[in-house]
Symmetry: C2
Subunit: 241 residues, 2 copies
């Protein structure tokens, strides 16, 4: 689970407690506000997983080894750029990913603004909690509890699935960091091919990131495409000299 | 929804907010600690349903018009006296009750002790959230959010059900208050029949309450049994004179 820029120590504590309640252990925190983060970690009765939580500067870094990145938040006022899945339908997708050896990240934004457009561009899909349109916005700790319950719920009632293997099969999805690497090589290639750096604006980067996630590339395909672009890039650089 | 003796104003606020998130409006509060209850109601941004919440002195009073009373809490250290339903399986029972015109109460105990044995004796069944045995106890606001999500979840994904009619059909369940009335008349009858008041101890009352709920009496049956005992009682009192 990933918390991006959480502010309120009570909310951080509540999110961690929900994780402990539902048997999750791995928490990543992106760019926390340091004093509050310290306070949450040192609170009396704080779950142990807060002590072992990993801090990252960026969401890209936090989800680099994940093959399915799921964003959360209220979508009422936004037009999302990736598929939106109602929370009750999320579990099968997550289970499929885990069974095939993938890693799944569930990402929560800050209490005030939720996930930014930039954050969302690292997400393969968005999940929506079916709240009342009159009061759609949930408290962070409660949203975490509800999402984790839904994932555990179906694990409890689902038939036994074989344990996830760490071996990367030919169909397993590409990790987020690999897609970022690929995006970087593609960008370099475009520049080497004569696209001016000016046209490679943040907006394009954003679209490229979304495109690569929309393709649902397997790890195997990603490796091949990366190889292809590296070869092209090498050739382009070689020609230029 | 019923909160029994809630203590922390933040938890009361969180529970109310979860109700608003999932479109619920009717809150009952039993024997709240007055200063904290006032504080929760007057908090900035408090959901309106806190202002319209009903206060009761006892749980019996709060659920008197309910036909299905569902208790919540951690059952790890208790041997419950009524059926325990895993939360993922609760929705169909609740829906059935509502469709047949019944009223359902979801009851949460205080943060510290949960529901007492006395409270639980008013419950037809208990619901269990599938938490990790290592950290089973959930924060009140989060437990409320998870339970309400589960009930809404299935309403969202379930096929359309006809609107509940208020008319009491022959199969509709007896309200909690009617069962209490019946228990009172049975107790009176037993005393009139020569049971010494000494034997009618709290423990017996407790067992009688549980027994009447275990029988799943319909409103119609309850009325008939009540009539029967009233007649017996009248006869006994008449003979005694």
């Amino acid at each position: 689970m990933v918390l991006v820029s959480p502010r309120n120590p009570l909310n951080i504590g509540a999110a961690a407690r929900a994780m402990a309640n539902f048997g999750l252990r791995r928490l990543s925190v992106v760019a926390p506000f340091e004093p509050n983060w310290r306070e949450a970690r040192s609170a009396i009765g704080a779950p142990e997983l807060l002590a072992t939580a990993v801090e990252s500067a960026t969401l890209a870094e936090a989800v680099a080894d994940c093959t399915l990145v799921v964003g959360t938040g209220t979508l009422t006022y936004r037009k999302p750029e990736q598929p939106v899945v109602p929370l009750p339908d999320l579990a099968p997708q997550v289970r499929r990913e885990l069974v095939s050896g993938g890693r799944v990240a569930l990402v929560f934004g800050s209490e005030k603004h939720g996930l930014t457009r930039e954050d969302l561009s690292y997400c393969h899909l968005l999940v929506e909690i079916p709240t009342d349109p009159l009061q759609p916005s949930m408290n962070l700790g409660q949203a975490v509890a509800v999402c984790l319950y839904e994932l555990i719920r179906s694990a409890v009632s689902a038939p036994e699935t074989p344990p996830a293997t760490q071996a990367t099969s030919i169909t397993s999805a590409a990790a987020s960091g690999r897609l970022d690497l690929l995006a970087g090589v593609i960008e370099e290639t475009m520049q080497a091919a004569g696209y001016s750096p000016h046209t490679m604006q943040p907006a394009n980067r954003h679209d490229l990131r979304l495109l690569l996630r929309r393709l649902s590339l397997s790890a195997h395909d990603t490796r091949r495409i990366l190889g292809l672009f590296r070869r092209i890039l090498w050739r382009l650089n070689h020609l230029e000299r």
